[in-house]
């Protein structure tokens, strides 16, 4: 029928990039780090500045520490986006979980507090799943709505516990701020978590169904998939992940507030999109989202170093995310 011919190296290279979309992202990450080093010599390679090593483990550790909660929230976005959905309640769920945990720890003890925090995430997630899967509300609207409701409930809850005071569980502080071999302890949570997400997406029936629903829901139905079951499980999982990310973030920030993790919300969507996950469903990679989270963190550092006013920083941040996504889409030919 058709013959197979050998293509010129450039074409093959292009196809290689298409099949391995994480590679250009990693390259871009290194370019950004190089720019950072040029802007502020010594921040990445303190050896030249006469400090502790070839690469600053302090800088690297910090970068990873702050990228972890972002990457965890990005998991919520990657998983839901695979089905052409989104979870806009993730940031608020993380905040709620952190607040609940901090306030309940001093009353009920750490164990029940953590369990209640995760349960709160599960409840919001299940409601999202029922709305999306059974009532067929668009995920954008559904999760926006539950997010707003959760914010309101949190404010009411705050009045109830106003005198209880707050306490941040020791192991969360250890996870959030402690270091082992110069690397943040958060990796003890994150590495198994990331491996679980990879496994879930690539090697489980559930993962297959996420891709299937995002590619062609009708084909999935025809094959006997009851979509609502998948949606309920998916958004419930997303809620629990968001709550877990909130707990870790609590350990990192060591403060409670009514909007603790909310600023991570849109960057988590950005990390997923930069990482090559299609908002139209059926295409996505968690490795890409992790690199996306690192890229966002490096960009953040860069913009902070430039000492720009907050407004200009936000504008520039938005522009850079758009540019990165556009270039990335051009390179990989994906959407």
């Amino acid at each position: 029928m058709s013959m197979v011919v050998t293509d010129p190296p450039l074409v093959r290279f292009g196809r290689f990039l298409r099949d391995n979309p994480v590679i250009p992202l990693v390259v871009f990450l290194f370019v950004l780090v190089a720019v950072l080093e040029i802007m502020r010599p010594g921040i990445v390679t303190p050896f030249r500045a006469g400090r502790d090593g070839v690469i600053s483990t302090f800088w690297l550790g910090n970068l990873i520490k702050f990228a972890i909660p972002l990457a965890m929230l990005a998991a919520c976005q990657v998983l839901t986006m695979l089905t052409a959905g989104i979870d806009l309640s993730a940031g608020i769920v993380a905040t709620v979980a952190a607040f609940v945990c901090a306030t309940l720890s001093s009353i009920w003890g750490v164990g029940p507090a953590v369990a209640t925090a995760l349960l709160a995430g599960l409840v919001v997630g299940v409601v999202n799943g029922i709305g999306v899967g059974l009532v067929r509300v668009h995920p954008l609207i559904m999760t926006l709505g539950t997010g707003l409701i959760a914010t309101g409930v949190l404010q009411v809850y705050q009045r109830l516990v106003i005198n209880a005071g707050s306490e941040i569980p020791g192991f969360l502080t250890w996870l959030g701020t402690g270091r082992t071999l110069a690397m943040p302890n958060g990796l003890f949570l994150f590495v198994p978590f990331a491996l679980f997400i990879f496994w879930l997406m690539r090697f489980t029936g559930f993962g297959r169904l996420l891709f299937a629903l995002g590619s062609n829901e009708n084909a999935a139905k025809l094959s006997g998939v009851r979509a609502w079951q998948v949606y309920v499980a998916l958004y419930a999982l997303s809620g629990v992940i968001a709550a877990l990310a909130g707990l870790l973030y609590l350990g990192i920030i060591r403060q409670t507030s009514l909007s603790l993790a909310n600023p991570l919300m849109l960057p988590s969507v950005a990390a997923a999109v930069i990482g090559g996950t299609s908002i139209f469903g059926g295409r996505g990679s968690y490795a890409g989202a992790i690199v996306g989270a690192l890229i966002i963190r490096v960009l953040d550092t860069m913009l902070t170093l430039m000492q720009m006013p907050e407004g200009a920083r936000t504008v520039l941040f938005g522009l850079i995310i758009l540019a990165v996504t556009a270039i990335y889409v051009r390179i990989t030919g994906s959407r």
Binding site: M3, V11, R208, F211, A212, A220, L222, S223, G282
Partner: protein, 494 residues
Amino acid sequence: MSGTQLLDATGIAKSFGAVRALTEASLHVSEGEIVALMGANGAGKSTFVKIITGALRPDSGTVLIRGREARVGSPAQARRSGLVPVYQEPSLIPDLDVADNLRLTDTPVEPFRRWVEELGIRRLALSDMIGDLPLATLRILDLARALASAPDVLLLDEMTAALPTDLVERVLKVMRQKADEGMGVIYVSHRFGEISELCDRATVLRDGMSVGDLKIEPGVEDRAVELMLGQKLDLAARDIHKTRGTTGDRPRMRVKGVAIAPKVSDISFDLFPGEVLGVVALEGQGQDELFECMAGFMPPRAGSIEVNGVAADFRHPADAIAAGVKFVPGDRADALLAQRSVRENIALPFSARIRAWGGLKLRHERARVAHAIARLQIDTRAQGEVQRLSGGNQQKVTIGRWLATGVDTLLLFDPTRGIDVRTKRQIYPLVRELAEQGASVLFYTSELEEIPLACDRAVVIFNGRVVDIIDAEVADEQTLLRAAYGLVAQEGAA
């Protein structure tokens, strides 16, 4: 007949990555000429059509329209230079009404109306929503829209597939008439009947190359098939081994007095183990709804369906699948995950139930998928995504999905629509083989000549009712056609 050259495509080549879809394809159309473009599965027909109509750019070669080099860069440009395509899938926007769709392409309304009537569609209002109209009507509207823009060259790509016979006749008549007025027509089709009735010449593609230009004359079919396949083969699948279904047994599936809004009023028949039961119907007689109902997509309004003597109350396709009833829909796009691999597509039903949501049993899956691929002879060189496969291979994937899980009852809705002769010839024996192994197959086809080839009996549906059940063995096309039109069949069979 032949005057000025309208379209001259010469030496067209196109590669996708490492796969060369076209190496040297050429096509010429003169004024007043109707040229068939033929080719087996994967010969490069679709790529060639896309290049001629400007949807793809060729790597090399030229496309001249009226002798002028047309750097056809986009479908809109091709349209302006006088070449208008009509595809198998209507290109009308479902959420707009007819008038708005015309406005989108700047189509004059009056000529459009005239053509719609000429092509045999009555009762069409410009305010009808496209999404509410049946597929056959949409095809005709698409064609009328193309004609209304007074094209120099009209390209029809499998336009008559699944069109009811009376509309096909009209289309052919109008084409002939326009050609006499000087229009050129490129007719992409698998149907020899229509080609020999309509066309002046046929250009045959094989492996991305034009391998022959045939004058249409008696016996041209054999020569064309020879060229398409690159070897001599019997055209008809006469040698298919048929054993009769054991109709004496308890029926596998019993449809009793089923009514489905709005088209189906009263359908009853039994489907026995080991038989292939054909469904003969013109477009829109309720067969779409019948299949969807039997597959669990919608409940019947009245009547009942039994599987193995037990009342089946399907609320979801999952229920039908659990009862062993598997459905292959008419539109491949409905059934496939276009961006996913062949393996994932075939293995999709394995993961459907909650208890299979955990870790994949990859070894088991690979074995079953490999078995289905081998049995159907699916060409999987385009490993990556199902959308890169040819139409015939895609269709095999939708069937292979159910072979991999095991089949009791298979509902095949027009499985050979728009696919090439070679793939068709693989599908009939497969259907027979399934029946021999004890499966029941309900087989609707829009091409009547397939009924005696593949089926034991055929149930004839007209206007939402069963009007006849006939022995497929003795049914010739004329008998079937008369029956499909609701005429008494005895006369033809006698």
